[in-house]
């Protein structure tokens, strides 16, 4: 009796292992040693070891965080930058579901999926940074509600938005599993999820900037103003869309075989339209920046070293790419638009790092630099997300057409 169960267990284990190994291979591929796998697997494994050390010995064992710099790369990159770059989901949902521009249909799903994965993984990464993560649920269960805290608002908006993204994506899961009745219900809920999603996005995109309102004495006056939340919301629009353009150009190569004809044809047209939205929102951003300079009377600081750094960010990574977006869209030059998208992404990365690390305590004699371990853990989060993304795109109707039985309902 005992032997028998052992045998079946071993057999099951073996089957599980073969299944696991086959899942590691790219769809239809023969080997697991693809360049992507060879790079990401070792980094993920090292990252997991570092995470174990972090929980066993405390944050100090793996990070360079200090009493002067309580927030480092994990907050700066995963949360601030991650959220801004995932902003494409709510902007595109607004354009597609609310304004009703049907031409964006081919990319809505993939963008929502990207948003959902980004939020799930970055929230996950946040747990690594919390000193007392076992208490994280206190925020939700009300072991006490900190109503006066911007972070409380951000946490709730963040949590609910991740849920609403899941609801927006759920029809794709139902199509994959062939759950026709569930699909109908889920499809009917999409508009509600979208409406709430946009509301929650405005709240937490601004809220993430709003966190720094309390750091008035610590952030360089060129970066600190009451406008921070508004600037974060506006920059999330062009940051998110730039990411959509950037990811789109990569996915269209990697997942070529999965892509529907509709998706392929529409791609270039969509990119140039998005470029226009980017250019517009970047003009608004630049105008707000000017207004901020005037409001805070910080013009004279522009001729200091921090001022040059500021100008590099605002002119080099917002003004120039916005011009590239505009001219690229007019001339239908995809190359120019993609260059602009990359520059914009770098600019948003720079802006968020400035606010939370570089212009934060710019006067401190000892600066914060991340350890190699913090970098590896950040890469682990990003790569694991890409793994899950690849797994889903290869199975569910994300870039490919929905099954035929959904057509009648449209």
């Amino acid at each position: 009796m005992n032997d028998k169960t052992d045998v079946t267990e071993i057999k099951n284990l073996k089957e599980f292992f073969t299944l696991f190994m086959s899942e590691l291979k790219p769809r239809g591929g023969k080997t697991i040693f693809t360049p992507f796998n060879v790079i990401t697997i070792p980094i993920i494994l090292v990252g997991l070891i570092i995470i174990v050390i972090r929980f066993a010995k405390g944050l100090g064992a793996v990070t360079n965080l200090s009493q002067d710099f309580p927030w480092g790369l994990w907050i700066g990159f995963d949360v601030l930058i991650g959220i801004a770059l995932a902003g494409g989901a709510y902007v595109l949902c607004f354009i597609y579901y609310i304004l009703g521009y049907e031409k964006y249909h081919p990319i809505v799903r993939v963008v929502v999926l990207n948003g959902f994965l980004a939020y799930s993984f970055y929230a996950g990464a946040l747990i690594l940074d919390l000193g007392r993560p076992w208490n994280a649920f206190n925020v939700l269960i009300g072991n006490k509600f900190g109503f006066s805290s911007v972070l409380f608002m951000v946490a709730w908006h963040f949590f609910l938005y991740t849920l609403s993204l899941l609801f927006e994506f759920a029809p794709a899961i139902a199509e994959w599993l062939g759950l026709k009745r569930a699909w109908k219900t889920l499809n009917a809920m999409t508009l509600g999820a979208v409406v709430f999603g946009i509301m929650l996005s405005l709240g937490h995109q601004g809220g993430v900037g709003g966190l720094f309102l309390l750091a008035k004495a610590k952030i360089h006056p060129l970066w600190y103003s009451e406008f921070i939340p508004l600037l974060f919301v506006v920059s999330s629009i062009f940051a998110g869309l730039s990411m959509v353009i950037f990811e789109g150009s990569i996915s269209s190569k990697v997942f070529k075989s999965r892509m529907s004809a509709e998706h392929h044809e529409a791609h270039d047209r969509i990119v140039t339209s998005l470029a226009k939205v980017c250019a517009g929102s970047m003009f608004v951003y630049l105008f707000l920046k000017l207004l901020e300079l005037n409001h805070e009377q910080t013009w004279s600081l522009l001729s200091t070293p921090m001022g040059y750094w500021y100008l590099l960010e605002v002119l080099g990574c917002v003004a120039i790419p916005s011009w590239l977006f505009l001219t690229g869209a007019r001339r239908r030059s995809l190359g120019r638009v993609k260059l602009a998208a990359v520059m914009t992404i770098l600019g948003v990365v720079l802006n968020r790092l400035n606010i939370c690390l570089i212009a934060y305590k710019w006067y401190a004699p000892v600066r914060y630099y991340p350890t190699w371990m913090e970098v590896v853990v950040t890469l682990t989060v990003v790569f694991t997300e890409l793994w899950v993304y690849r797994w889903i795109v290869n199975r569910m109707p994300v870039v490919s057409d929905s099954p035929d039985w959904t057509q009648g309902a449209h």
Binding site: G146, F147, F152, G210, P229
Partner: protein
């Protein structure tokens, strides 16, 4: 059919919004606002002109809070400025002023009237108790936002512990003050640098000393108005920027810096869903007519 569906969604979202916003009104009365009403706040006056740098307050603080013992006789620590730390809730620093005077300054949590750290805390682990002390509870999630929000950089985090706490001066609330005694550092000070009382008495005492000896003191009570006032206030014989104090903090209570934004979020959450549904409905009609 479309119309019914639309109404259903509208009703659903509105009720959702109503639930979501049920807890906003309370939030808008920001935490620190109870402040000066009710029981009077306690406070301490630190008269830096009396301090001789003996570090006995550091020792008393370490002992009552069961912190690791250090060599408190060592006077070479004054060579360079020390911040408070997770194992030292209070430190004494020596400053040389522009006209060559040596002045000792004791630092610890200021126990703000409107604490930024408490308004930052998303689980109220950091909170101001009615009598004035700003204290920390173990429901903390360890996000360290209080450290970002504190204008005096007081909360300290135990980076080298898997079960870290936020450490800072607790005004000896549980062990002394609650029982009607004075904080350990106040009690032990051999030169009576510190004067303990209600915050009102403390500020009055500071004013009295400056009025009585106007040539001895620099005419400012640090903490009387800074960031909306603090429970611990200082007087000194030199301008405070020469004594390691930040004099650019302004008088706005810290919770106010984010209060306007919180109100805006509440407005966004109330208005945006209805607005979006309206726009969506209008856009749909337009497309149908096309």
């Amino acid at each position: 059919m479309e119309r019914r569906k639309f109404l259903k969604v509208l009703a659903g979202s509105l009720s959702g919004v109503a639930c979501g916003n049920a807890f906003y009104p309370r939030k808008l009365r920001a935490e620190g606002d109870h402040g000066l009403t009710g029981d009077e706040l306690l406070g301490v006056l630190v008269d830096t002109t009396l301090c001789i740098g003996c570090r006995s307050c550091e020792r008393a603080c370490s002992e009552i809070n069961n912190l690791p013992a250090l060599n408190f006789e060592n006077k070479s620590v004054f060579e360079k400025k020390r911040p408070t730390s997770e194992i030292q809730y209070t430190v004494v620093n020596r400053y040389t002023t522009q006209d060559g005077k040596e002045i000792f300054v004791k630092n610890q949590c200021m126990h703000c009237n409107y604490p930024g750290c408490a308004s930052a805390c998303l689980v109220k682990a950091m909170h101001k108790i009615e009598k004035g002390p700003v204290n920390w509870e173990t429901n903390c999630i360890g996000c360290r936002y209080c450290m970002v929000a504190c204008p005096f950089d007081i909360p300290k985090f135990e980076y080298n512990s898997p079960v870290p706490k936020i450490q800072k001066c607790n005004f000896c609330w549980e062990k002394k003050v609650k029982k009607g005694e004075r904080p350990a550092c106040v009690e032990i000070c051999p030169t009576e640098v510190m004067f303990f009382g209600t915050r009102r008495e403390v500020v009055e005492e500071a004013q009295r000393r400056i009025y009585q000896e106007p040539d001895k003191y620099y005419h400012q009570i640090y903490g009387e108005n800074e960031v909306g006032g603090t429970s611990w206030v200082y007087i000194a014989a030199a301008p405070f920027e020469q004594l390691g104090f930040r004099t650019d903090l302004g008088t706005t209570p810290y919770p106010k810096l984010s209060k306007g934004f919180l109100t805006n979020i509440a407005v966004i959450d109330l208005v945006v869903p209805a607005l979006l549904l309206g726009i969506g409905y209008a856009a749909k009609k337009k497309n149908e007519n096309d």
